[in-house]
């Protein structure tokens, strides 16, 4: 029992990371109907950014966090401007290859910058682990859970209460109609890219103290994040959050039951089951196919 609780707790931690990545996928998909295969690389860039700013240059943590997220957002901005906006034939296959190309490019770039070594960071704060009914909750886990929840709540508020957020949703529902009402749809797409890159970066910075950071850490995280987004229902904010936690816990329990090598398969088996049986995600009432 104790053991299972421990698995659940550590599953929630990694689940929060998946959730933040999933939110990035969902936001972008909502505004552009595009799936960015380079999303995981934004996570990697976030982690490596923090490693550099906080770990190497010893910039104060809060400033380093902000700088990293801002920096990755700028990369998201450039990515949209240079690689997505310029596409003449926005066929899914073409966009898939472009974003895959971008992911290889980012990975190659960070290998040039940081080399092939793995780095690690200390937790944000040195507080002792919290005891939850006998299971240990590390201080970094608390940070991860809090930051991810605050982030999703903030996004929810942004979508529901601010004009820009509502405009983004309008674009997601019907781009043409939104354009006609005077919403600058192109700028909304750009904003979605920037925000989803920022989401990736946040996931990267909060995970950096609990994992080894290297140039190739992003791909798997990105794919897992996508699995989480599908699990909760691609395009749904709360769905992504629940999907992330669920995937994290299931994976963590899976490690308890099987070997750690099999762990990676769990996400993909879930992905296939969801695609086959409930393409709208586990939460949506009816199976909606967006394509």
């Amino acid at each position: 029992m104790q053991e299972i609780l421990q698995y659940v707790v550590s599953g929630l931690t990694i689940g929060a990371i998946y959730a933040v990545i999933a939110v990035g996928f969902s936001m972008l998909f909502n505004s552009t109907e595009l799936i960015n295969f380079a999303q995981g690389e934004f996570v990697m860039l976030g982690a490596m950014g923090l490693v550099t700013l906080w770990g190497v240059f010893h910039i104060p943590l809060v400033l380093a966090l902000l700088l990293t997220v801002a920096g990755v957002s700028v990369i998201g901005f450039l990515f949209e401007r240079l690689a997505i906006r310029t596409v003449r034939n926005p066929h899914p296959i073409v966009l898939i290859i472009i974003t895959v190309g971008a992911s290889i490019f980012f990975r190659g770039l960070s290998m040039l910058i940081w080399g092939k070594d793995a780095y690690s960071l200390p937790p944000f704060t040195d507080t002792p682990p919290l005891d939850v009914f006998g299971a240990k909750l590390l201080s970094q886990s608390i940070w991860i859970l809090c930051i991810s929840l605050v982030l999703v709540a903030g996004l929810y508020f942004f979508y529901k209460k601010t004009l820009t957020g509502k405009a983004m949703q309008a674009c997601a529902i019907n781009k043409k109609a939104a354009c006609l009402t005077g919403i600058p749809a192109e700028r909304m797409v750009l904003l979605a890219f920037i925000l989803s890159a920022a989401m990736g970066a946040v996931a990267g910075v909060i995970i950096s103290p609990i994992t080894m950071c290297s140039y190739d850490m992003g791909t798997m995280l990105g794919l897992k994040g996508f699995c989480a987004a599908m699990l909760g229902g691609l395009g749904s904010l709360w769905g992504s959050l629940i999907g992330g936690f669920l995937l994290g816990v299931l994976e963590s329990l899976g490690v308890g039951l099987f070997t750690s090598g099999v762990k990676d398969a769990i996400a993909f088996i879930i992905l296939l089951l969801i695609l086959y049986f409930r393409p709208g995600g586990i939460i949506s009432a009816k199976s909606v196919r967006r394509f």
């Binding site: 034939n89 490019f105 992905l271 086959y276």
Partner: protein, 316 residues
């Protein structure tokens, strides 16, 4: 008139192969040429599915791997001759494609991409984790070379000829297929699935059949790969390999059989050339993918032709 150039190419192409085999002495070059042939098989298979039927697969390395591992397991663990293992490898791949294809090919667009990706990932993990059978992450050693009676294919040159003979066979098969009733039906699915249905085409069944065929092509490539390098590991069949196969098809130009050959050639040579860039290899590779897709989404072959035709009309 339209047929004549094709006929000529069927003469020229084998001649080039034979001459290449005679004059290329350097064993490294022969090896690269053999890999081009194996990759052409992969590209041809995926091209049938993606270029003609319009169904993307981001997990084709799985079938490539299934072909390679099946023959490895049967020849090493069960002592079968490679030629007996070949039909088994193709059949296993076809069977897996059939089972996976049913639910997967109901998906479209990105969902299909992700579904096939997930499948590829799972198969890759199976290769890595089922170590009793596959040797696990460290790989599978001791796969026997091929020989046929007195002819041994262990020499680079013989293997080169064998692979390219098979490639030519598959080129002819692909070409005949797409210029037939079935081929037209396939292409019609690509353009409008609903209209294809209204023409009496059972689109689902056709998609599954071409998925299976394309898996068989990939398994054939896997078989040839396994007996060529005689050592396989899960890394040769991972997600990036799937992406590389897709890229071969797209760069070469979808729905073009010679484009598949061209794409496979380019994508096999590119990493060899990029070795010169050493550290910059990945950056350059990623950039090339992006730039080609942004500027020439029809693929290099078609794109260059388009530019040529445009310049011709402008000059007039």
């Amino acid at each position: 008139m339209a047929i004549a150039p094709h006929r000529i190419i069927y003469l020229i192409f084998p001649s080039i192969i034979i001459l290449a085999g005679l004059f290329v002495q350097n064993s490294y070059y022969l090896q690269v040429l053999t890999f081009i042939g194996i990759n052409t098989l992969l590209a041809l298979g995926l091209n049938l599915l993606m270029g003609y039927a319009g169904q993307i697969s981001l997990g084709h390395a799985a079938f490539y791997g299934i072909g390679a591992y099946t023959t490895a397991v049967l020849t090493v663990h069960y002592g079968l001759s490679p030629w007996a293992a070949l039909p088994c490898a193709l059949a296993v791949s076809a069977l897996v494609a059939l089972i996976v294809g049913f639910p997967t090919l109901k998906l479209t667009g990105y969902y299909l991409g992700m579904g096939t990706l997930g499948f590829g990932m799972i198969v890759h993990i199976v290769f890595r984790e089922w170590s009793d059978l596959t040797g696990g992450a460290s790989g599978f050693i001791g796969i026997p070379p091929l020989d046929l009676g007195p002819i041994s294919f262990s020499s680079g040159r013989n293997y080169f000829y064998l692979v390219w003979a098979i490639v030519m066979m598959c080129l002819v098969v692909s070409n005949r297929l797409i210029n037939s009733r079935v081929g037209r039906a396939l292409r019609s699915i690509h353009d409008s699935e609903i209209a294809a249905g209204a023409m009496g085409i059972n689109t689902m069944s056709l998609k599954i059949r071409v998925f299976v065929l394309s898996a068989v092509f990939s398994a054939l490539a896997g078989f040839l790969y396994a007996h060529f390098v005689m050592f396989i590991s899960p890394g040769s069949f991972d997600f990036l390999v799937s992406i590389r196969i897709v890229t071969m098809v797209v760069i070469g130009g979808m729905a073009s059989i010679w484009g598949a050959l061209f794409g496979a050639t380019l994508l096999t040579l590119l990493p060899e050339w990029l070795h010169a860039f050493s550290e910059f290899e990945m950056v350059v590779y990623g950039l090339i993918l992006m730039v080609v897709m942004i500027l020439l989404p029809q693929g290099l072959t078609r794109g260059v032709l388009d530019i040529y035709e445009k310049s011709k009309t402008r000059n007039r």
